[in-house]
C-alpha cells in the first residue's frame, strides 16, 4: 500500500547523490518532451495496468452523491488522501449509505481523470471496515427512522384485549405459519385467522411484505396483524430490515406484532412493530395470552360483581340489626303492638257508633212511615170517587127524563099541527093557487090578470098554469 504512494517520489532519491557528477550535456541529449495529454495518458496506462484491481482502506470524507447518481468521496488516512468515485450502477447495490467519517475498505481500479490531472480510484464495491455492510445498513436505517420518531414508545399501540380476527403476513411454505397455527389451534380454538401469503426473502420480498400488510389491514374486523418468518441467515431475514416494511408496519391502523427468525434476530421491523415477538410461535402465544387474560378478567369481574353486591347487602343488613338494637328502638315492637291494639279498638268503637246512628235513624223513618199510612190518603180518595159516581148517575137520569118529555111534547104538537094543516083539505079534492113565486095564495080572481102565471098545488104534485081572459 505505502509503496503505491512512495513509488514516484522514491525513484529520484537514489540518483540525488550522484547528481552533481552528471554531465549536463548528457542529460540534454536524453531529453524527451511529452505533451500534458500524452504524459497523462501514459500515467493512466501505467496506473490502470498496475492497479487494475486493488483494495484500499481509509476513512470517507467529502462524500457527495451527485444528481447524476454517481458518488464522489475522498479516502484518507493520517498521511494521505485518495480521490474516489463510484458510478450510479454500483451505488444502487449498496445496502448502506456511505457517509463522512465512515471507515471503509473499497475495491476498484486506479485511473486518471485527464481534464484535471487527478488520479482516482473507481470503486465497484465499498464495505464498512470492522462490521459488515448489512450491519451498517441496519444501524443507519435504525438511526434514521428513530430520529423520525417511528420507534417512539408513545407511538406503540396496545394490543386489543380480545383479538378475534388475526391477520398473518408471511410465507405459506415457511415454518412460521405452521408454528403460529399450531399454537392458536391448541390454545385458541375459535380464533379467526386470515393469512396474506408473501415472499419473505429474495429480491422484491420487502415490497411484497409491505403490500401484504397494506392489504390485510383493509379487511374489516382485523384486530391484530402478525408479520414475520422463521429463522434464517441475516441475508434471509434482510427483507425485514428494509425501510418499506418498517413504514408499512407504522402505517397500519391496527396493532402489528413482528415475529422474525429466532430470539437473537432483531430486525428493523421489530423496532417499528407495536410488539416484538422473539419468534412466530411466541407471537401466537402473545395473542393467546391477551385472549386468556381477557377471559380471566371477565371471570374476575363477574366474581367481583357478585361479591360486591353480596357485600353491600350484608352491610345494609348489619346496619338494620345495629339500628334495631339502639336504645331508641327498645320495646319498639311492643309499642308497635300496643299501637296496633289501640287502633283496632278505635276502629271497633267507630264501627259500633256508626251502626247505632244508623239504627236510630231507621227507627225514626219507620215511625214516620206508619204515621203516613194512618193518614190513609187512599181511602179518602175512594169516598170522593163514590160520591162523584152518585152525582153522575143523578145527572144522567135527569137528562134522560128531560129528553123524553121533550120528545113527547114534540109528538103531540106534530099531531095537532097535522090536523090543522090546510094541505090536509087537498086530499079531499081542493087545490091551492099560488102566485108565480109561490109566496102568496091567490084567494080572489081579481088578483090575477090574463097572461099571469100561477102555480096550483094539488094533493099530489103541482101544476103551472097560465091565466087567460076567456
Amino acid at each position: 500500500m505505502s509503496s503505491l504512494i512512495d513509488l514516484p517520489f522514491d525513484e529520484p532519491e537514489p540518483s540525488a547523490a550522484s547528481k552533481p557528477a552528471k554531465d549536463p550535456e548528457v542529460r540534454e541529449r536524453r531529453r524527451v518532451v511529452f505533451s500534458v495529454s500524452d504524459i497523462t495518458a501514459g500515467i493512466r496506462g501505467l496506473l490502470e495496468t498496475e492497479y487494475a484491481e486493488v483494495w484500499v482502506e481509509g476513512e470517507i470524507s467529502n462524500c457527495r452523491l451527485w444528481n447524476t447518481g454517481h458518488l464522489y468521496f475522498t479516502l484518507k488516512d493520517p498521511g494521505a488522501q485518495l480521490k474516489a468515485v463510484m458510478f450510479k450502477s454500483q451505488v444502487r447495490t449498496l445496502k448502506f449509505k456511505p457517509e463522512d467519517g465512515l471507515h471503509v475498505i473499497v475495491r476498484g481500479r486506479l485511473s486518471v481523470y485527464d481534464p484535471k490531472g487527478e488520479y482516482q480510484i473507481v470503486c465497484d464495491q465499498v464495505e464498512p471496515h470492522g462490521l459488515g455492510a448489512l450491519q451498517l445498513a441496519f444501524d443507519q436505517l435504525k438511526r434514521r427512522l428513530q430520529s423520525e420518531g417511528l420507534f417512539d414508545g408513545a407511538r406503540k399501540r396496545p394490543l386489543p384485549s380480545f383479538p378475534r380476527k388475526i391477520g398473518i403476513v408471511t410465507s405459506l411454505d415457511g415454518a412460521a405459519i405452521r408454528d403460529i397455527i399450531k399454537v392458536l389451534g391448541r390454545r385458541y380454538p375459535n380464533a379467526h385467522i386470515v393469512i396474506r401469503p408473501t415472499r419473505v426473502q429474495g429480491e422484491g420480498a420487502a415490497a411484497d411484505i409491505a403490500r401484504g400488510l397494506n392489504d390485510i389491514v383493509t379487511l374489516p374486523g382485523i384486530d391484530v396483524v402478525i408479520v414475520g418468518r422463521g429463522g434464517g441467515s441475516v441475508e434471509d431475514l434482510w427483507a425485514f430490515n428494509e425501510e418499506i416494511v418498517a413504514r408499512a408496519i407504522v402505517a397500519s391502523p391496527v396493532p402489528v406484532i413482528s415475529a422474525v427468525g429466532h430470539e437473537v434476530d432483531v430486525t428493523i421491523a421489530d423496532f417499528a412493530a407495536d410488539v416484538r415477538a422473539p419468534t412466530p410461535s411466541a407471537a401466537a402465544e402473545i395473542v393467546v395470552a391477551r385472549k386468556e387474560d381477557f377471559c380471566t378478567h371477565i371471570e374476575r369481574l363477574g366474581e367481583r360483581l357478585t361479591g360486591a353486591v353480596r357485600g353491600s347487602i350484608a352491610r345494609l343488613d348489619s346496619r338494620v340489626h345495629q339500628l334495631n338494637r339502639r336504645p331508641g328502638f327498645a320495646g319498639w315492637s311492643a309499642r308497635l303492638a300496643l299501637r296496633g291494639r289501640h287502633c283496632a279498638e278505635t276502629t271497633h268503637a267507630l264501627r259500633h257508633a256508626a251502626r247505632a246512628g244508623i239504627n236510630k235513624r231507621l227507627r225514626v223513618y219507620q215511625n214516620l212511615r206508619l204515621q203516613l199510612e194512618q193518614f190513609d190518603l187512599r181511602r179518602r180518595l175512594g169516598t170522593v170517587r163514590a160520591r162523584l159516581v152518585r152525582v153522575d148517575g143523578t145527572l144522567l137520569a135527569a137528562a134522560l127524563h128531560r129528553r123524553h118529555d121533550a120528545e113527547r111534547r114534540l109528538n103531540s104538537c106534530a099531531a095537532r099541527l097535522d090536523s090543522l094543516s090546510p094541505l090536509a083539505v087537498l086530499g079531499r079534492g081542493y087545490a091551492v093557487v099560488w102566485d108565480e113565486s109561490r109566496t102568496h095564495v091567490i084567494r080572489r080572481a081579481v088578483e090575477v090578470k090574463p097572461g099571469d102565471r100561477v102555480r096550483v098545488t094539488l094533493s099530489e104534485g103541482e101544476l103551472n098554469c097560465d091565466v087567460t081572459d076567456d
Binding site: V194, F294, A308
Partner: protein, 82 residues
C-alpha cells in the same frame, strides 16, 4: 333483552362492567341502586361470555387480488399429522 341491545361492543361492555364493579365495591349505594347495577352487570358479563364463545375456528387466505377463500385444506392435514 332490550337492554342487551344497548351494549355497543365488547370494549364498551367491559368498560361499563368495570365501572359498575368499582361503584359497587365502593359501597355507599342505596340497596335499590346496587341491585339495579348488579342486574346490568350480570347482563354485561353474560354478553362478554357469549361473545367469547360465539366465534368459530376459521382460517382464510387473502390473495393478491383481494379475494378471501378458506384455507382449511392446506393446514388441517398437517395439523392432523402432528
Amino acid at each position: 333483552m332490550d337492554s342487551t341491545s344497548t351494549i355497543k361492543d365488547f370494549e364498551a361492555a367491559i368498560a361499563e362492567l368495570e365501572t359498575i364493579v368499582r361503584k359497587l365495591e365502593e359501597g355507599d349505594l342505596p340497596l335499590e341502586k346496587s341491585l339495579e347495577l348488579y342486574e346490568r352487570g350480570v347482563q354485561l358479563s353474560r354478553f362478554c361470555h357469549t361473545r367469547l364463545e360465539e366465534a368459530e375456528k376459521r382460517i382464510e387466505i387473502l390473495n393478491e387480488r383481494g379475494d378471501l377463500r378458506p384455507a382449511g385444506a392446506i393446514f388441517s392435514k398437517d395439523d392432523d399429522r402432528k
